[in-house]
Symmetry: C2
Subunit: 238 residues, 2 copies
DNA sequence: CGTCATATTGACTTTAGTCAATAGAAGTGG
DNA sequence: CCACTTCTATTGACTAAAGTCAATATGACG
């Protein structure tokens, strides 16, 4: 259940058997959600953090007038709001974006980690730091890249992130997310997302078969996107 | 030198005398920078984090073609990249946006804190969590708010953040940042920032005297911006 | 006084948004 | 298996927000 997550944080540093055992013990309550279902609500104080084990979830802000911003996509191995135990209330909701499975980890257990396992604490903190780095990259996309580049960039990001946890092969993956939701993530209208995807298809940068995205020439797509994966690896220090 | 920062993290929880003493000891090297000067460079691994003690700094990504995105504004009491010690290289640069003073804290000292002071570690982690919350709000502004609302929103945010550290009075503050840089922060062109500021002035939502921003009716501006300060307080848990 | 950076303005272009209709695809119940 | 509903994708015509380019003003400062 925590395999993907363990694989990820071991990119930061060693995790001892004791730490692994503790992690395994505190991950509980496997839940299933369907697309659009709310996992945690904006303004609430959920007593646990969510670890995605399959499917896609997202953090979402909703403004008056129904405007929505998807702040992040969480894939298997990702914690949604690991740092939630530090803040009184969450400033966004967490929603399933596709069929997905979520394991919940009580905040008290995370607080325990910070008392007993300094190294593991740093690994968790590191995970939130990488998460923030991804957010900075998205923000840069929104501010500086055209819709075409921005979408290409996200498709590159998802390829690498899904590969890291074994949910993508060398050049393709399933992205079971509607164009409307993608629009909410990019700050673009559904119509514009649709047209931009068509342009990417026309230029043979992507091929889609249902929810599957195939990237015939990964390097070409990266070039269009101006994609540099450094922010994703957030590699281990010495 | 760390007064503003201490005041801020004490909103999260108590800080013991031993912790305060340790913090005081590790803050060193006061540096001055002028507007536009680079404090840390994208792709590098600076051996310390920066604490702003006066003026404004910002985190900035630069893309090929000279496009720039300002990812955050750091005001007195803010750490730029506290979590930098966790990542191999920083994915953005840090620049002075106005005349400013920066205290540097070695990463090794932050690592020490994580070994010896679990509670203080949580407080630092909390600080980075609030930082991430601000980023989420900016992202929401970029995706969902019009230029007019977005600028109004930032002006509200800066009022509260500067008030929290004693750099603003009840309805005004100095914002010594050029319209060009504001544009880089919003993902808007300089010209559009200029016109939008004019619109805000025309509607009497702000008055400017040089770098000073005066907000005659704070509630009115908040209303235009759809401003809810919850994300900034990220208040202490029980 | 001249220089430089910043702010402002006008005219025009481009990107992306809106509205509304149509087409496909997936799932449901009979 | 088919008719029906519903959600999602696609298209077209039009609008609006924001960008670009280029000129001009303003202001700080040596």
């Amino acid at each position: 259940m925590i395999t993907a997550f363990l694989a990820k944080i071991q990119r930061y540093g060693q995790v001892s058997e004791a730490e692994k055992a503790f992690l395994k013990r505190i991950v509980m309550h496997l839940h299933k959600y369907g697309p659009g279902q709310e996992i945690a609500a904006q303004g609430m104080s959920p007593p646990e953090s969510c670890l995605v084990t399959s499917g896609f979830a997202g953090r979402i802000k909703t403004l008056s007038g129904g405007r929505r911003q998807i702040l992040s996509l969480q894939v298997p191995g990702d914690f949604c709001d690991l740092q939630g135990f530090l803040l009184k209330e969450i400033d966004h909701s967490i929603e399933a974006l596709s069929q997905c499975e979520i394991a919940k980890v009580p905040h008290s257990a995370i607080a325990d980690i910070t008392e007993r396992f300094p190294r593991l604490t740093r690994a968790l903190w590191w995970d939130t730091a990488v998460d923030a780095a991804v957010q900075r990259e998205w923000m840069t996309s929104m501010g500086c890249r055209s819709a075409y580049e921005q979408i290409a960039h996200l498709l590159c990001e998802m390829l690498l992130r899904l590969q890291a946890v074994g949910w993508a092969d060398s050049n393709s993956y399933d992205l079971p997310i509607t164009q409307e939701r993608l629009g909410d993530a990019f700050g673009l209208s559904t119509v514009h997302v649709n047209r931009t995807l068509q342009a990417l298809r026309q230029n043979r940068l992507i091929v889609s078969e249902g929810a599957r995205i195939i990237i015939p020439d990964v390097e070409a797509l990266k070039k269009v996107a101006g994609f540099d994966p450094a922010y994703l690896t957030g590699q281990a220090p010495a």
